[in-house]
C-alpha cells in the first residue's frame, strides 16, 4: 500500500508541471495583454510610452523564457505573483473568495449525492419500467439544462411565488447561518442538478453490472433477503465506480460555478476567473488554473487511494 501511495503521489507532478507549462505558453502565443485592456479598454487615448512603462512595471517586456523562469520559480516557492489588474497578490485575491465558492460546492455535492443514490438505485432495480424511463429523462435533463438558466428559473420562481429574492451580500455561515443558507442554497441547487444527474447515471449502470455477478446469484441462492442482497452485496460494490465520478465532478464544480456565480451575483472563484479572462490578467488566470488543476489531481489521488482501500485487487495488483 505504501509503495502504491508513493507511486501515485509521484505521478501527480508530471501532470501539474505539464499544466503549468501549457497554460503559460498558451496565454502568450498571441501578442496583446492586460495593459491594452486596462489602459485602452474604454477607448481611452493613451500614449505608447505610458503603455510601455506599464508593461515594464509588470515585467511583460522581459523575454518570454525569462518570464517563464519567474513563473516556474514562483510555483516552487509558492509565490504566484500579483494580479496584473489590481496589483494585489493573487493568493489574496483567491483566498478572500474561496470560502464562498467552496461552501456552495460542498452544499451542492451533499444535496446531489443524497438524491443521486436512491434515484440511481431505483432506476436500476426497476429497469425497463416507466420509473427507469422517468429517471433517464430527469438525469439527461440534468446534463442538458444549463446551470445558469436553471439558476435564472429558480430566481424567477422565487420572485413569482414568494415575491422574494435571496440576499446579495455574503454572510459567513458562522456569523448568521440563516442568512448564509438562504443565499447560497439556490446556486448550490443550480449547479447540483447536473452533478446529481451524472452520479445517478453512474450508480444505475454500475449497479446493473454488479447485479449480473455470480456472487449476487450466490447470495440469492443462499436465501439472503432481497433487501440485504441489494444493500450489502450489490450497492456496496456498485458505489465504487460512483466514488470516482463523485470525486471528479466535485473537482470540476468550479466549471459550473464559473457561470452560476454570474447569475446569483456571487463574488466567488468563478466570477474572479471570468473577470480575469476578460481582463487578460495572465498571472491571475495562471494561478487559478494551477489551483483548479492541483485540486483535480489531489482529488483523483484521494479517489485512487480510496479505491485501493476498498478493493484489495488494486492494492496488490
Amino acid at each position: 500500500m505504501l509503495r502504491y501511495t508513493v507511486h501515485r503521489v509521484l505521478l501527480m507532478f508530471p501532470t501539474l508541471i505539464g499544466v503549468a507549462v501549457l497554460v503559460f505558453f498558451m496565454l502568450r502565443v498571441i501578442p496583446g495583454d492586460v495593459v491594452e485592456v486596462k489602459l485602452r479598454g474604454d477607448g481611452g487615448n493613451v500614449s505608447q510610452e505610458t503603455i510601455e512603462m506599464e508593461r515594464h512595471r509588470l515585467g511583460l517586456d522581459k523575454p518570454i523564457l525569462y518570464q517563464f523562469k519567474d513563473w516556474m520559480v514562483g510555483l516552487v516557492t509558492l509565490d504566484l505573483g500579483k494580479s496584473m489588474w489590481t496589483d494585489r497578490p493573487v493568493t489574496e485575491e483567491i483566498s478572500i473568495r474561496l470560502e464562498l465558492s467552496l461552501q456552495v460546492a460542498i452544499m451542492a455535492s451533499i444535496v446531489a449525492v443524497l438524491i443521486a443514490i436512491p434515484l440511481g438505485t431505483t432506476a436500476a432495480l426497476m429497469r425497463g419500467t416507466w420509473v427507469d424511463y422517468a429517471v433517464r429523462i430527469i438525469t439527461i435533463g440534468g446534463l442538458s439544462i444549463p446551470s445558469f438558466w436553471f439558476g435564472m428559473l429558480i430566481m424567477i420562481s422565487l420572485l413569482y411565488f414568494f415575491n422574494w429574492l435571496p440576499p446579495i451580500t455574503f454572510t459567513p455561515i458562522y456569523v448568521d447561518p440563516v442568512a448564509n443558507l438562504t443565499q447560497l442554497i439556490w446556486p448550490a441547487l443550480a449547479v447540483g442538478y447536473r452533478y446529481c444527474a451524472v452520479v445517478a447515471r453512474m450508480i444505475r449502470s454500475s449497479l446493473l453490472e454488479v447485479l449480473n455477478e455470480d456472487y449476487i446469484r450466490t447470495a440469492r441462492a443462499k436465501g439472503v433477503y432481497e433487501k440485504l442482497v441489494i444493500s450489502r452485496h450489490a450497492l456496496r460494490n456498485a458505489l465504487l465506480p460512483a466514488i470516482t465520478v463523485i470525486g471528479i465532478e466535485f473537482a470540476f464544480l468550479i466549471g459550473g460555478l464559473v457561470v452560476t456565480e454570474q447569475v446569483f451575483n456571487l463574488n466567488g472563484i468563478g466570477m474572479l476567473f471570468v473577470q480575469s479572462v476578460s481582463r487578460n490578467d495572465f498571472t491571475l488566470i495562471q494561478a487559478m488554473v494551477m489551483m483548479v488543476a492541483a485540486f483535480y489531481v489531489v482529488i483523483n489521488l484521494v479517489v485512487d487511494l480510496l479505491y485501493a482501500v476498498f478493493d484489495p485487487r488494486i492494492r496488490y495488483g
Binding site: 502568450r28 439527461i140 435564472m152 428559473l153 470540476f252 488554473v289
Partner: protein
C-alpha cells in the same frame, strides 16, 4: 441465379431495417432525432421559417408579451424572440457540429495512434491527455478564449470553435484509445504489418474503421456538450457577440433585469438550449445503447 448479385440486393434492405430496428429499440432516440431534424431544418431555412428579421429593432414593441404577432414576445429592443431563437439554432448547430467534429476527429486520431504505436509515443500522448484532462471543460475553453481572442470568418468566430474543440480532444482520445487497444491485438493488424503497409495506412485503413462506433457516439454526445459550452461562453460575454443571434447571448447582459417584467426573455432561449442539448444527449445515449450495449461514454 447469380450469387454475386445477392449482396447488392440485400444491402439496401438491411440498411432500412437497421433504421427501423433503431426506432423500435430506441423510441426515445428516434423522437430526439425528430427534434434534431426540426432544429436543423429551422436553422438552415431560417430566412424562410422566421416570421421577422432577428436584427430588426422595433421601439414600438419593446418587451411585449408573447402574442399571436410575436410568439415568443420581444426583447428590450423590440426584436422578435421567436425569430432570434430560430436564427440562434443556426449559430448553435454550426458551432456545435464543427467544434465537436474537429475535437472528436483529432481526439480519435490521437487515440488510435497512441494505441497503435504503444511504448514511448503512447506514454507521451497519454501524459498530454492527462494534462488536458486536469482542466474542467469550461476553464480550458476560457483559457483558449483568453489566449486567442476573436478571429471572424463569415460571421463565425473560428477561435471560439477551437476553444470549444480543444477540451473535447483528450476526452475522445482516451475512450478511442481504449477501443483501439483491443483492435491492435487483432490478427489482421499483424497481417497488415507483415504485408509491409505504412503506419498511416494501417491506422487509417485498418484500425480507424473499427473504432467508428465509439467515435460516432462521442461525436454525437459532444455536439450536445459543444452547444452547451457555446451557450455558456456567450452568456459570459466571451463567446458569440452581438448582433449575431445566439441563445446564450440572449440570456446575458441585462436580460436578468427583466425577471419580473419580461420572464419570456429568459424562458424561451433557455428552453431552446435545453431542448437542443437534451435531444443530442438522448440521441447519443440511444445510439450507444443500440450500437454497443456494453460501451459507456
Amino acid at each position: 441465379m447469380s450469387v454475386a448479385a445477392l449482396p447488392s440486393v440485400t444491402e439496401p434492405a438491411r440498411r432500412r431495417s437497421a433504421i427501423l430496428e433503431f426506432c423500435q429499440q430506441q423510441p426515445l432516440g428516434a423522437a430526439s432525432f425528430v427534434v434534431i431534424f426540426v432544429m436543423m431544418f429551422a436553422g438552415i431555412f431560417a430566412e424562410r421559417v422566421a416570421p421577422y428579421n432577428p436584427l430588426d429593432i422595433d421601439f414600438d414593441n419593446i418587451l411585449s408579451a408573447p402574442s399571436w404577432a410575436h410568439w415568443g414576445g420581444t426583447d428590450a429592443f423590440g426584436r422578435d424572440i421567436f425569430s432570434r431563437i430560430i436564427y440562434g439554432s443556426r449559430t448553435a448547430l454550426v458551432i456545435g457540429f464543427t467544434s465537436s467534429f474537429i475535437g472528436s476527429t483529432i481526439g480519435a486520431i490521437l487515440g488510435v495512434a497512441s494505441a497503435y504505436f504503444g511504448g514511448r509515443i503512447d506514454t507521451w500522448i497519454q501524459r498530454f491527455v492527462d494534462v488536458l484532462l486536469a482542466f474542467p471543460i469550461i476553464v480550458l475553453a476560457l483559457v483558449v478564449v483568453a489566449a486567442l481572442r476573436k478571429f471572424l470568418i463569415g460571421g463565425i468566430d473560428v477561435n471560439l470553435i477551437y476553444a470549444i474543440a480543444i477540451p473535447i480532444v483528450p476526452r475522445v482520445a482516451r475512450v478511442v484509445r481504449a477501443a483501439a487497444l483491443s483492435v491492435r491485438t487483432m490478427p489482421y493488424v499483424d497481417a497488415a504489418r507483415a504485408a509491409g503497409y505504412s503506419n498511416s495506412r494501417i491506422i487509417f485503413r485498418h484500425m480507424a474503421p473499427n473504432v467508428v462506433a465509439p467515435y460516432l457516439i462521442m461525436f454525437t454526445a459532444f455536439i450536445a456538450q459543444a452547444i452547451l459550452l457555446e451557450a455558456s461562453l456567450s452568456f459570459l460575454g466571451l463567446g458569440v457577440t452581438e448582433p449575431t443571434p445566439a441563445w446564450g447571448l440572449m440570456l446575458s447582459g441585462n436580460a436578468a433585469d427583466f425577471y419580473r417584467e419580461a420572464p419570456w426573455m429568459i424562458l424561451f432561449p433557455g428552453a431552446a438550449i435545453s431542448l437542443a442539448v437534451f435531444a443530442f444527449n438522448l440521441f447519443g445515449d440511444s445510439l450507444r445503447d443500440y450500437l454497443d450495449p456494453r460501451f459507456k461514454v
